[in-house]
Symmetry: C2
Subunit: 343 residues, 2 copies
């Protein structure tokens, strides 16, 4: 039997797509245009993992129980508070007869799904380990990829976990490459995080010698780290939840000039105005953070009379996994950092 | 004493701007760079008003109590569920000494504030009347405009309530004018609503003879209305909360082609995917609806592998009140409709 290419046939009792659905059918008998994956690990979205960690008082056993509870209730690993998901890694176990031979996958291939866990039917048999420092959950389980679902075959010339660690934020650096122009002044909020560093790296390549990439981080240690690794031209230490502080410090670091582009990669809420205030008229704010609140951005910009363009971070853009894998291949610095921090 | 131009001096116990603040100080003694307004009416944001109406079972007295309760708790009329506000109309009662003579306002001028109620300190002495069909609350009360707050003096050659009715959605048609290009195919969701009609009108002017403006509405009656008033080229009847239905109907109406631009003016939730699915690669979705959920849009587009640009509707852009007032001045059709429906 053939299902909808977008997966609506798996939505239970609602006429919506799988992502906004309260619950999806996670029965692992596949439709003719679905792919069955033997899952080895989940990379939980940072905003989601942080929320669950706090809710569970950083107790690993409680976090395990909470994740199992969410998947049992929803049929997918979608954080009910943040609404966000993450991605997974696994091996192709079965390809529906409609897709066999028509896609570049074979049974046994290792892939990372590039669609969100927030719409991916999932069954967890057992949680083997949780690595809270890298938002990773190692499991025994299965998942379904719909016909429209995007994925990346894991590169053979790169350590699997390294590729995976980068691919779950692949949208951000690829969108950065598209948005940044030569000579731009760019501010990255949350610059020392995983997507933040990749955005800084791509922005630095695009702005050229007359442009400037500034990274906002929460600690002196992170600032020093960014500078030492030449990921930014200027590192600013400040609290992204305090828009006045951010505005004053950015203006000071940029000869009292407003900036062209702000990229928000922070994983806590209430950072909308810190992204908006430093940007000049007709400038751009790119919200990649899943903790962004739509109304806070929309009404916040209006409230301060800012004529700027605010973009919702799209996790997908053509070739985004290549951009990210290439960044890791060409930069030994990034490779070393990612190996140390996320693998 | 001078306050912060953005109004942070009024935020109680938090280091945030007035919009995200839980509570603002609504003491009506003004700072040197504030303006005191004698308020006659609130135009509640449509998403907010709908939510309150439903919560109060459409009982006018309960709605009054709920609005008074919200303002007492928060010092501003910000719906705690939707986060949104609206705008107000009133007369200038006092101008702070720092601003006197430096702005184009005098005591006694009638204005509409163009910043959201969600950040405007407000005191309600009495609710005089509620007009649920136009989301209007007539009150006796006072409000504060910060130095950065934008406003429109009400035009003398136009009925006050008519101008007001249009100005609270002034951002949408002005942004439409900027986004739409000649020959574009444009879909407006919620096309028969207030912002929807203004967007259709501006889009029609911009697309030219080879372009096409399609309006999605919920009823045959609304579709007929749009066609009779020549606000759209094609009216589509469908449920904006059902993305599959919307996709199929839009493709059918557009020779099986995806569209260039979708403008979302719907005031209910779960319409993100209906906006995303019909748009072609590199196309644009402009979310003006305050019921938009950031993560549903971001993860939804990724989930279906759509390489599109999604923009957060900014209630402000330069000259936005002029665009809107001009639309009403030049179109007798719009004037008549607005007088009938919203005044």
């Amino acid at each position: 039997m053939k299902g909808c290419k977008y997966g609506t046939h798996r939505v239970i009792n609602e006429s919506v797509l799988p992502q906004p659905a309260l619950k999806v059918d996670n029965n692992m008998d596949i439709y003719d245009n679905e792919i069955l994956i033997n899952v080895s690990a989940l990379n939980i979205d940072s905003a989601s993992f942080t929320q669950i960690e706090e809710e569970c008082s950083h107790d690993i056993e409680k976090i395990k129980d909470r994740i199992i509870e969410i998947v049992r209730e929803k049929g997918k690993m979608q954080n009910p508070v943040t609404g966000s998901g993450g991605m997974l890694i696994g091996t192709i176990e079965e390809i529906g007869c409609d897709l066999k031979g028509k896609i570049d996958l074979e049974v046994g291939d290792k892939i990372a799904t590039l669609v969100s866990l927030s719409l991916t039917p999932l069954q967890i048999e057992e949680i083997i380990d949780i690595k809270p420092d890298i938002d990773r959950v190692e499991i025994k389980g299965k998942a379904i990829l719909f016909e429209s679902g995007i994925y990346a075959k894991l590169p053979k010339d790169m350590e699997e976990n390294l590729a995976l660690a980068a691919l779950d934020v692949a949208g951000a650096p690829a969108q950065t490459q598209k948005l940044v122009k030569e000579n731009d002044t760019v501010l990255v909020l949350g610059a020392a995080g995983k997507s933040g560093m990749l955005c800084c790296y791509e922005a630095k390549k695009k702005v050229g010698k007359k442009g400037r990439v500034m990274g906002l981080v929460i600690s002196d240690k992170q600032a020093q780290f960014l500078i030492e690794n030449r990921l930014v031209d200027t590192a600013i230490v400040g609290n992204a939840q305090n828009p006045n502080e951010v505005l004053q410090k950015v203006l000071k670091a940029n000869n009292n000039q407003e900036i062209d582009l702000c990229i928000n990669c922070v994983n806590v809420c209430n950072t909308e105005m810190s992204s908006i205030l430093p940007v000049k008229d007709n400038g751009v704010v790119y919200f990649f953070s899943m903790a962004t609140a739509f109304t806070k951005a929309a009404l916040g910009a209006e409230g301060v009379g800012k004529d700027i363009n605010m973009i919702i971070g799209n996790g997908y853009t053509k070739g985004h996994s290549d951009v990210t894998i290439n960044a890791l291949k060409e930069s030994e610095t990034l490779r070393t950092i990612f190996k140390n921090l996320y693998v």
